[in-house]
Protein backbone atom coordinates (compact mmCIF):
# COMPACT_ATOMS: atom_id res chain seq x y z
CA UNK A 1 0.00 0.00 0.00
CA UNK A 2 2.63 2.46 1.13
CA UNK A 3 4.72 1.55 -1.87
CA UNK A 4 1.91 2.40 -4.23
CA UNK A 5 1.35 5.78 -2.51
CA UNK A 6 5.02 6.65 -2.79
CA UNK A 7 5.15 5.76 -6.44
CA UNK A 8 1.97 7.75 -7.03
CA UNK A 9 3.51 10.81 -5.33
CA UNK A 10 6.66 10.37 -7.37
CA UNK A 11 4.60 10.26 -10.53
CA UNK A 12 2.70 13.41 -9.53
CA UNK A 13 5.93 15.23 -8.79
CA UNK A 14 7.27 14.37 -12.23
CA UNK A 15 4.10 15.49 -13.92
CA UNK A 16 3.88 18.74 -12.01
CA UNK A 17 7.55 19.45 -12.76
CA UNK A 18 6.94 18.92 -16.43
CA UNK A 19 3.83 21.06 -16.28
CA UNK A 20 5.76 23.87 -14.59
CA UNK A 21 8.45 23.81 -17.26
CA UNK A 22 5.82 23.87 -19.93
CA UNK A 23 3.93 26.71 -18.26
CA UNK A 24 7.06 28.79 -17.86
CA UNK A 25 7.94 28.60 -21.51
CA UNK A 26 4.42 29.62 -22.37
CA UNK A 27 4.61 32.63 -19.98
CA UNK A 28 7.82 34.05 -21.39
CA UNK A 29 6.44 33.78 -24.85
CA UNK A 30 3.09 35.34 -24.10
CA UNK A 31 3.25 37.64 -21.11
CA UNK A 32 2.79 41.28 -21.96
CA UNK A 33 3.03 44.29 -19.66
CA UNK A 34 -0.05 46.34 -19.08
CA UNK A 35 -0.02 49.97 -20.20
CA UNK A 36 -2.51 52.50 -18.98
CA UNK A 37 -3.29 55.40 -16.76
CA UNK A 38 -3.10 55.15 -12.99
CA UNK A 39 -5.06 57.59 -10.83
CA UNK A 40 -5.18 57.92 -7.07
CA UNK A 41 -5.06 60.13 -4.04
CA UNK A 42 -3.02 60.79 -0.96
CA UNK A 43 -4.51 58.77 1.91
CA UNK A 44 -2.82 60.58 4.78
CA UNK A 45 -3.80 64.18 3.96
CA UNK A 46 -7.55 63.68 4.56
CA UNK A 47 -6.78 62.09 7.95
CA UNK A 48 -4.50 65.02 8.88
CA UNK A 49 -7.22 67.41 7.73
CA UNK A 50 -9.76 65.73 9.96
CA UNK A 51 -7.68 65.84 13.13
CA UNK A 52 -5.57 68.94 12.64
CA UNK A 53 -7.29 72.30 12.19
CA UNK A 54 -4.04 73.86 11.08
CA UNK A 55 -3.12 71.46 8.32
CA UNK A 56 -5.79 70.81 5.73
CA UNK A 57 -5.33 69.55 2.22
CA UNK A 58 -5.67 66.88 -0.38
CA UNK A 59 -3.64 65.57 -3.27
CA UNK A 60 -4.54 63.72 -6.44
CA UNK A 61 -1.86 61.67 -8.18
CA UNK A 62 -1.66 60.12 -11.60
CA UNK A 63 0.75 58.56 -14.02
CA UNK A 64 0.73 57.30 -17.57
CA UNK A 65 3.06 54.54 -18.75
CA UNK A 66 5.18 55.58 -21.71
CA UNK A 67 7.69 52.75 -22.08
CA UNK A 68 8.69 49.67 -20.12
CA UNK A 69 10.43 51.78 -17.51
CA UNK A 70 9.31 55.40 -17.99
CA UNK A 71 6.09 56.98 -16.79
CA UNK A 72 4.67 60.49 -17.14
CA UNK A 73 3.61 61.52 -13.66
CA UNK A 74 1.77 64.40 -12.04
CA UNK A 75 0.33 65.52 -8.71
CA UNK A 76 -2.35 68.09 -8.09
CA UNK A 77 -3.20 69.40 -4.67
CA UNK A 78 -4.52 72.00 -2.27
CA UNK A 79 -3.21 73.01 1.14
CA UNK A 80 -4.48 75.24 3.93
CA UNK A 81 -1.72 75.43 6.47
CA UNK A 82 -1.42 77.51 9.64
CA UNK A 83 1.81 77.62 11.56
CA UNK A 84 2.55 79.05 14.97
CA UNK A 85 6.11 80.25 15.33
CA UNK A 86 7.61 81.72 18.51
CA UNK A 87 6.75 85.33 17.77
CA UNK A 88 4.11 85.17 15.06
CA UNK A 89 1.71 82.91 13.21
CA UNK A 90 0.63 82.76 9.61
CA UNK A 91 -1.74 80.91 7.30
CA UNK A 92 -0.93 79.86 3.75
CA UNK A 93 -3.65 78.66 1.36
CA UNK A 94 -3.15 77.61 -2.20
CA UNK A 95 -2.97 75.00 -4.91
CA UNK A 96 -0.11 73.34 -6.70
CA UNK A 97 0.72 71.14 -9.63
CA UNK A 98 3.75 68.95 -10.11
CA UNK A 99 4.58 67.31 -13.41
CA UNK A 100 7.45 65.17 -14.58
CA UNK A 101 8.67 61.63 -15.15
CA UNK A 102 9.08 58.50 -13.05
CA UNK A 103 11.65 55.83 -13.79
CA UNK A 104 11.03 52.31 -12.50
CA UNK A 105 14.33 51.00 -11.16
CA UNK A 106 12.83 47.67 -10.06
CA UNK A 107 13.17 44.50 -12.12
CA UNK A 108 9.83 42.77 -11.69
CA UNK A 109 9.16 39.07 -11.73
CA UNK A 110 6.91 38.11 -14.55
CA UNK A 111 3.41 39.42 -14.17
CA UNK A 112 4.33 41.85 -11.41
CA UNK A 113 4.10 45.58 -11.79
CA UNK A 114 5.74 46.94 -8.66
CA UNK A 115 7.92 50.01 -8.81
CA UNK A 116 10.91 51.49 -7.12
CA UNK A 117 10.63 55.03 -8.33
CA UNK A 118 13.22 57.62 -9.03
CA UNK A 119 11.65 60.64 -10.60
CA UNK A 120 11.86 64.32 -11.35
CA UNK A 121 9.16 66.96 -11.12
CA UNK A 122 8.66 70.60 -11.87
CA UNK A 123 6.37 72.12 -9.28
CA UNK A 124 4.33 75.31 -9.41
CA UNK A 125 2.08 76.82 -6.78
CA UNK A 126 -0.12 79.88 -6.46
CA UNK A 127 -1.13 80.85 -2.95
CA UNK A 128 -2.17 83.55 -0.49
CA UNK A 129 -0.50 84.09 2.85
CA UNK A 130 -1.99 85.85 5.85
CA UNK A 131 0.22 87.02 8.67
CA UNK A 132 -2.26 86.61 11.52
CA UNK A 133 -0.35 88.37 14.26
CA UNK A 134 3.13 89.07 15.48
CA UNK A 135 4.91 90.14 18.62
CA UNK A 136 8.05 92.23 18.34
CA UNK A 137 11.08 90.21 19.36
CA UNK A 138 12.66 92.56 21.88
CA UNK A 139 13.99 92.73 25.40
CA UNK A 140 11.86 90.42 27.57
CA UNK A 141 12.00 92.69 30.61
CA UNK A 142 10.29 95.59 28.91
CA UNK A 143 6.63 95.79 27.88
CA UNK A 144 5.99 93.88 24.66
CA UNK A 145 3.99 94.88 21.63
CA UNK A 146 1.73 92.54 19.65
CA UNK A 147 0.15 93.55 16.37
CA UNK A 148 -3.10 91.64 16.04
CA UNK A 149 -4.29 93.15 12.79
CA UNK A 150 -3.70 90.53 10.11
CA UNK A 151 -1.77 91.34 6.96
CA UNK A 152 -2.75 89.69 3.66
CA UNK A 153 -0.26 88.85 0.95
CA UNK A 154 -2.22 87.72 -2.10
CA UNK A 155 -1.26 86.30 -5.49
CA UNK A 156 2.06 84.82 -4.49
CA UNK A 157 3.62 82.05 -6.51
CA UNK A 158 6.62 79.77 -6.44
CA UNK A 159 8.22 77.15 -8.63
CA UNK A 160 10.65 74.42 -7.76
CA UNK A 161 12.41 71.25 -8.89
CA UNK A 162 11.71 68.04 -7.06
CA UNK A 163 13.58 64.74 -6.83
CA UNK A 164 11.30 61.77 -6.10
CA UNK A 165 12.21 58.49 -4.42
CA UNK A 166 9.38 56.09 -3.87
CA UNK A 167 7.64 52.78 -4.08
CA UNK A 168 4.45 51.53 -5.68
CA UNK A 169 3.21 48.05 -4.89
CA UNK A 170 0.24 46.22 -6.41
CA UNK A 171 -1.64 44.93 -3.37
CA UNK A 172 -4.84 43.86 -5.11
CA UNK A 173 -5.60 43.47 -8.78
CA UNK A 174 -5.10 46.95 -10.31
CA UNK A 175 -4.83 48.62 -6.89
CA UNK A 176 -1.49 50.10 -5.84
CA UNK A 177 -0.22 51.42 -2.55
CA UNK A 178 2.51 54.00 -2.89
CA UNK A 179 4.91 55.95 -0.81
CA UNK A 180 7.24 58.66 -1.95
CA UNK A 181 9.77 60.99 -0.44
CA UNK A 182 10.65 64.23 -2.19
CA UNK A 183 13.51 66.67 -1.93
CA UNK A 184 12.77 70.14 -3.28
CA UNK A 185 14.86 73.06 -4.43
CA UNK A 186 13.12 76.36 -5.04
CA UNK A 187 13.66 77.89 -8.47
CA UNK A 188 11.69 81.11 -8.17
CA UNK A 189 9.14 82.81 -5.96
CA UNK A 190 7.42 86.12 -5.42
CA UNK A 191 8.29 87.10 -1.89
CA UNK A 192 5.86 89.16 0.21
CA UNK A 193 7.04 92.57 1.31
CA UNK A 194 8.46 92.58 4.82
CA UNK A 195 7.79 88.85 5.22
CA UNK A 196 9.02 85.65 3.64
CA UNK A 197 7.45 82.60 1.98
CA UNK A 198 8.02 80.19 4.83
CA UNK A 199 5.53 77.67 3.54
CA UNK A 200 4.55 76.88 -0.03
CA UNK A 201 1.75 74.42 -0.86
CA UNK A 202 3.30 71.29 -2.38
CA UNK A 203 6.78 72.39 -1.42
CA UNK A 204 5.83 72.53 2.26
CA UNK A 205 8.19 74.11 4.78
CA UNK A 206 10.81 76.31 3.12
CA UNK A 207 14.14 75.87 4.87
CA UNK A 208 16.80 78.56 5.08
CA UNK A 209 18.58 77.84 1.80
CA UNK A 210 15.34 77.45 -0.18
CA UNK A 211 15.23 73.70 0.01
CA UNK A 212 12.48 71.50 1.41
CA UNK A 213 11.12 67.99 1.89
CA UNK A 214 7.76 66.38 1.48
CA UNK A 215 6.26 62.94 1.22
CA UNK A 216 3.01 61.24 0.39
CA UNK A 217 1.24 57.93 0.88
CA UNK A 218 -1.06 57.08 -1.98
CA UNK A 219 -3.62 54.57 -3.09
CA UNK A 220 -4.20 54.39 -6.80
CA UNK A 221 -6.09 52.42 -9.40
CA UNK A 222 -4.72 51.30 -12.75
CA UNK A 223 -6.95 51.60 -15.77
CA UNK A 224 -5.23 49.41 -18.38
CA UNK A 225 -5.49 50.57 -21.98
CA UNK A 226 -3.47 47.92 -23.81
CA UNK A 227 -0.79 45.25 -23.38
CA UNK A 228 2.61 45.32 -24.93
Amino acid sequence: MSRSIISLLFLLLCVSGAAQRLGKEKDTAQYKDRYGIRVGLDIVRPIYSFFDENDKGFELVGDYRLTKRFYLAAELGYRDHTRQEDFYDFTTKGQYIKAGVDYNAYKNWLGMENMIITGLRYGFSTFNTTLNEYTINSDPFLPERTETESVDYDNLNASWAELVLGLKVEVLHNIFLGFSFRGNVKISSTEPENFRNLYVPGFERVYVNDYGFSFNYTISYLIPFYRK
Binding site: F87, N114, N137, R145, V169
Partner: protein, 168 residues
Protein backbone atom coordinates in the same frame (compact mmCIF):
# COMPACT_ATOMS: atom_id res chain seq x y z
CA UNK B 1 4.35 41.00 -3.42
CA UNK B 2 7.90 39.68 -3.09
CA UNK B 3 8.94 39.49 0.58
CA UNK B 4 11.99 41.73 0.06
CA UNK B 5 9.84 44.37 -1.59
CA UNK B 6 7.36 44.25 1.24
CA UNK B 7 9.98 44.73 3.92
CA UNK B 8 11.62 47.62 2.07
CA UNK B 9 8.23 49.29 1.80
CA UNK B 10 7.53 48.83 5.51
CA UNK B 11 10.89 50.14 6.63
CA UNK B 12 10.65 53.22 4.41
CA UNK B 13 7.08 53.95 5.43
CA UNK B 14 7.90 53.75 9.13
CA UNK B 15 11.13 55.71 9.00
CA UNK B 16 9.55 58.65 7.19
CA UNK B 17 6.50 58.84 9.36
CA UNK B 18 8.70 59.70 12.35
CA UNK B 19 8.97 63.42 11.85
CA UNK B 20 11.74 65.70 13.02
CA UNK B 21 11.68 68.05 15.97
CA UNK B 22 12.19 71.68 15.11
CA UNK B 23 15.73 72.77 15.77
CA UNK B 24 15.77 76.41 14.74
CA UNK B 25 16.76 79.04 17.24
CA UNK B 26 17.06 82.75 16.76
CA UNK B 27 20.66 83.82 16.23
CA UNK B 28 20.11 86.95 14.13
CA UNK B 29 20.16 90.48 15.47
CA UNK B 30 16.80 91.52 16.85
CA UNK B 31 15.43 94.83 18.15
CA UNK B 32 18.53 96.99 18.78
CA UNK B 33 19.46 98.44 22.14
CA UNK B 34 20.48 102.02 22.75
CA UNK B 35 24.28 102.14 22.90
CA UNK B 36 25.78 104.94 24.94
CA UNK B 37 29.44 105.90 25.09
CA UNK B 38 30.75 108.05 27.89
CA UNK B 39 33.08 110.95 27.06
CA UNK B 40 34.97 113.44 29.15
CA UNK B 41 33.18 116.82 29.27
CA UNK B 42 36.44 118.74 29.78
CA UNK B 43 38.25 116.82 27.09
CA UNK B 44 35.56 115.90 24.51
CA UNK B 45 37.84 113.69 22.43
CA UNK B 46 38.49 111.22 25.24
CA UNK B 47 36.40 108.42 26.66
CA UNK B 48 35.72 108.69 30.37
CA UNK B 49 34.71 105.64 32.35
CA UNK B 50 31.79 105.53 34.71
CA UNK B 51 31.99 103.28 37.74
CA UNK B 52 29.33 101.71 39.89
CA UNK B 53 26.35 102.95 37.94
CA UNK B 54 22.75 101.84 38.49
CA UNK B 55 20.21 101.77 35.69
CA UNK B 56 16.46 101.97 36.06
CA UNK B 57 14.06 101.80 33.15
CA UNK B 58 10.51 102.95 33.68
CA UNK B 59 7.99 100.17 33.10
CA UNK B 60 10.51 97.35 33.29
CA UNK B 61 10.31 94.33 35.47
CA UNK B 62 12.97 91.88 36.46
CA UNK B 63 16.59 92.85 36.06
CA UNK B 64 16.18 96.38 34.84
CA UNK B 65 14.36 97.59 37.94
CA UNK B 66 17.72 97.92 39.60
CA UNK B 67 20.45 96.89 37.24
CA UNK B 68 23.83 97.79 38.67
CA UNK B 69 27.02 97.95 36.69
CA UNK B 70 29.85 97.94 39.18
CA UNK B 71 32.84 97.70 36.91
CA UNK B 72 34.44 100.60 35.14
CA UNK B 73 33.01 101.00 31.69
CA UNK B 74 32.89 103.62 28.98
CA UNK B 75 29.88 102.21 27.17
CA UNK B 76 26.54 100.64 28.01
CA UNK B 77 23.66 99.21 25.98
CA UNK B 78 20.13 99.79 27.24
CA UNK B 79 16.98 98.14 25.90
CA UNK B 80 14.37 100.36 24.32
CA UNK B 81 10.68 100.03 25.10
CA UNK B 82 8.68 98.82 22.07
CA UNK B 83 5.39 98.99 23.98
CA UNK B 84 5.31 102.76 23.62
CA UNK B 85 7.10 105.52 21.76
CA UNK B 86 9.26 106.68 24.63
CA UNK B 87 11.63 105.20 27.16
CA UNK B 88 12.66 106.85 30.40
CA UNK B 89 16.02 105.96 31.91
CA UNK B 90 17.43 106.83 35.30
CA UNK B 91 21.20 106.52 35.52
CA UNK B 92 22.38 106.71 39.09
CA UNK B 93 26.00 107.08 40.10
CA UNK B 94 26.29 105.21 43.35
CA UNK B 95 28.33 106.22 46.32
CA UNK B 96 31.87 104.91 45.98
CA UNK B 97 34.43 105.92 48.57
CA UNK B 98 37.49 105.01 46.57
CA UNK B 99 36.50 107.38 43.77
CA UNK B 100 35.02 110.02 46.07
CA UNK B 101 31.79 109.55 44.17
CA UNK B 102 28.48 110.56 45.68
CA UNK B 103 25.07 109.23 44.82
CA UNK B 104 23.52 111.22 42.01
CA UNK B 105 20.56 110.25 39.86
CA UNK B 106 19.99 111.74 36.42
CA UNK B 107 16.95 111.11 34.27
CA UNK B 108 16.78 111.21 30.51
CA UNK B 109 14.16 110.21 28.03
CA UNK B 110 14.20 109.21 24.39
CA UNK B 111 11.20 109.51 22.09
CA UNK B 112 10.99 107.86 18.67
CA UNK B 113 8.82 106.29 16.01
CA UNK B 114 8.98 102.56 15.33
CA UNK B 115 9.19 100.48 12.20
CA UNK B 116 8.67 96.70 12.21
CA UNK B 117 10.96 94.59 10.06
CA UNK B 118 10.86 90.86 9.37
CA UNK B 119 14.17 89.24 10.34
CA UNK B 120 13.94 85.47 9.85
CA UNK B 121 11.78 82.45 10.60
CA UNK B 122 13.00 81.81 14.16
CA UNK B 123 13.42 85.49 15.09
CA UNK B 124 10.21 86.92 13.67
CA UNK B 125 9.86 90.70 13.68
CA UNK B 126 12.15 93.34 15.17
CA UNK B 127 11.48 97.02 15.70
CA UNK B 128 13.86 99.73 14.57
CA UNK B 129 13.66 103.28 15.84
CA UNK B 130 13.49 106.41 13.71
CA UNK B 131 13.45 110.11 14.51
CA UNK B 132 14.98 109.49 17.90
CA UNK B 133 15.09 112.53 20.17
CA UNK B 134 17.01 112.56 23.45
CA UNK B 135 16.03 114.76 26.34
CA UNK B 136 18.02 115.20 29.55
CA UNK B 137 16.00 116.26 32.55
CA UNK B 138 17.69 119.17 34.32
CA UNK B 139 18.02 119.01 38.08
CA UNK B 140 20.09 121.05 40.55
CA UNK B 141 23.08 118.76 40.24
CA UNK B 142 23.40 116.85 36.96
CA UNK B 143 26.36 114.51 36.68
CA UNK B 144 25.58 114.21 32.98
CA UNK B 145 26.59 117.41 31.25
CA UNK B 146 25.29 116.74 27.79
CA UNK B 147 23.72 114.00 25.64
CA UNK B 148 24.66 114.21 21.98
CA UNK B 149 23.20 111.98 19.23
CA UNK B 150 25.88 110.56 16.95
CA UNK B 151 23.82 111.13 13.82
CA UNK B 152 21.15 113.56 12.75
CA UNK B 153 18.38 112.51 12.43
CA UNK B 154 19.17 109.74 14.87
CA UNK B 155 18.11 106.27 13.77
CA UNK B 156 18.67 103.15 15.83
CA UNK B 157 18.71 100.29 13.35
CA UNK B 158 21.44 98.03 14.64
CA UNK B 159 24.00 97.62 17.39
CA UNK B 160 27.11 97.86 15.26
CA UNK B 161 28.09 101.29 16.58
CA UNK B 162 27.19 103.75 19.35
CA UNK B 163 24.08 105.89 19.05
CA UNK B 164 24.59 108.66 21.61
CA UNK B 165 27.49 110.26 23.49
CA UNK B 166 27.14 111.23 27.12
CA UNK B 167 29.57 113.91 28.34
CA UNK B 168 30.23 113.93 32.03
Amino acid sequence: MKPSMRSVFLILAISFSISCERDDICIDDITPKLIIRFYDFENPELFKDVANIKVNIEGADGDYINETITTLTDSIALPINVGGNQTRYTLTLQETEALEQEENADVFEITYTQEDLFVSRPCGYEAIFNEVVTDLEKDEDNWIDEIVPLSDPLEIINESSAHVKIYH
